[in-house]
Amino acid sequence: MSSLDPQDEFFIGYLGVPPRLKRFLLGFIPILVLGALAFAFILPPLHFDQFNLGKRTKVPEFEGLLVGQPSPHLLVPRTGDVGTVSDFSLYLLSGTGKTSPKPEVLEHVDQWVNLKGTPFHRNHLTVIATKSAEPIEPPASGPTQPDEGSSLGEFSLSGEIVDGKCYPGVMKPGRTKTHRTCAIRCLSGGVPPVFVVHNQAGDQLYFLLSDLDGKAVNDKVLDLVADPVQITGEVIQYADAFVLKADPATYKLL
């Protein structure tokens, strides 16, 4: 004998869903499911800096002058008519992890090398995740050294310190708060820091950072990454890049 009154519906999990409740659920559950799924379509395009042009490039090796300071980089002679631009392109060097290039690579500093790795670039900033470097003969013709950097004067610039590996495309976004701890890991491991400044025209300007002795600042800026920072110092044009020379103790958190 059942005392179930058809007008007084009561759901018991193991017995099945009564008809009026079933009608309600057939309407409600699809709305709930579609409502949740809608976020999969709405959220991705709203995320910051994830569709930037940072990319991996498919060039497996480079020949150039390996330089150790302020941060490891490779100077690669430009081919063809370079006009007024520098004779050299500057590529930052990191290791394959959140590290500087391996000691076996860095022992060839100030030599010409054939360098193998994976390059990433965003706008005109390039980093090579370096796997190996073999010494080679310097080129027979053309310059073998870029000119001494020329000072462009003293500037006060506001921007963000990023790690020179994630920002060019390894991670998206490779900057700001969500990426902060990763950037700290990268810089303390020896990845070159880069100062990113947006000028009034909306272009990005990139600066290598150097202390007053021309050395790397990595360990002194760990607490300043991913936040707005003001740096006042001498800007030096060096190869096709800029170096910003200042005492890291004077960097100002904004």
Partner: protein, 353 residues
């Protein structure tokens, strides 16, 4: 029920529930990835999955937290509550995948162990804007883990209901921590106003829904939300008047508050019985249940009790407290002091004349 603990007791309802739940989650994750890749083919895939897992877990948490109060407001939502624990476990697994990928991607391949890096990289624990939001997520994950690990009824019985319930209220702490995790992390980077709005609306929805439900419950209990409830009139024999038999539909109950505890007063077959409102299984509200096949049946998962003894029908062995009842005309009088669980009580017979 109490006889033996199986890993999971399956039935068709649970099966349909889980199929809908899991298909929705898998669909969400792949849509999230697919849509992200529409915008650029050269994206950081790991990052996409971190965000897909995190957002899926966070959305599901909102659904989980809504089911409780919604089914207090209307029994129509009870089928969603029926298997809520599977939603909880699914949510925990999504959170775990999010954390696994976030640890590997943002903290591994460096000069520290990822777990060490998580806590020492950003140490601005006293700064609001620069707060290490990852730590908030980490604490939330530990709470969710404890809940998922003790989710089986075995733990409910062995930890005792109050301890287990306290553990489950931890979900609100976890929710608060996760709102902090998202506001001080993802929202600081992703400043699109829609995202802030969505998190804000979600928070107001959860808090508002719980407040509305709490107010409604307090009203039903005749107790103000704050301060002392009015003292019920206890007569010389220690009985309390809880109203007329005509207020109770057949085979249903009315809930009265006696000495701070809810009591379910059932009307069935021309008789009245009163038992504790609290189901032995997971504290479901028996007074919102129904008499089915002569047994009080819990609205949450269908545990049953005999109305005149508070004992589950054989082979089950659950016992809940009963209350002595008597009638004065159409007025129901219930003893202010409960009997020991499982004590038989003669039902009060309604005078049909």
């Amino acid at each position: 029920m109490g006889v033996a603990y199986k890993a999971v007791q399956w039935n068709r309802q649970k099966f349909v529930y889980d199929i809908i739940l899991l298909t929705t989650v898998v669909f969400y994750l792949f849509c999230f990835e697919g849509i992200s890749l529409q915008f650029s083919s050269d994206l950081d895939i790991k990052g996409i999955w971190i965000r897909a897992f995190g957002s899926a877990a966070f959305i599901l948490l909102h659904v989980i937290l809504s089911i409780g109060p919604l089914s207090r407001l209307s029994p129509k939502f009870l089928p969603l509550l029926y298997n809520r624990r599977h939603m909880g476990v699914t949510m925990f697994i999504l959170a775990l995948l999010h954390v696994r990928d976030a640890l590997a991607w943002y903290h591994d391949f460096g000069n520290l162990e990822p777990l060490v890096s998580l806590f020492v990289s950003n140490t601005h624990y006293t700064d609001f804007i620069r707060f290490p939001f990852e730590a908030l997520g980490g604490v939330a994950l530990v709470i969710l883990f404890l809940m998922a690990a003790t989710s089986h009824d075995f733990w409910l019985t062995n930890l005792t209901a109050p301890v287990w319930k306290a553990l489950h209220m931890g979900v609100y702490l976890a929710y608060g921590l996760l709102v902090g995790h998202v506001v001080l992390g993802a929202l600081e980077t992703n400043t699109h106003p829609f995202l802030t709005l969505a998190v804000g609306v979600g928070f107001v929805w959860i808090v508002g829904l719980h407040l509305i439900t709490a107010l409604r419950e307090a009203q039903k209990d005749g107790a103000p939300l704050f301060g002392q409830p009015a003292k019920p009139q206890v007569d010389a024999d220690g009985y309390i008047n809880v109203g007329s038999v005509n207020d109770i539909p057949d085979n249903r109950a009315k809930i009265a508050v006696i000495a701070g505890e809810r009591v379910a007063i059932f009307k069935y077959d021309g008789q009245i019985s009163a038992i504790s409102n609290v189901c032995q299984h997971q504290n479901g509200p028996l007074g919102e249940g129904k008499i089915v096949d002569g047994c009080i049946t819990c609205p949450w998962h269908g545990y049953q009790y005999l109305p005149d003894s508070g004992i589950s029908p054989p082979p089950f062995t659950e016992k809940i407290p009963t209350f002595n009842v008597k009638l004065q005309g159409d007025q129901i009088l219930v003893s202010a002091i409960p009997n020991l669980p499982g004590t038989p009580v003669a039902p009060a017979v309604i005078d049909q004349a």
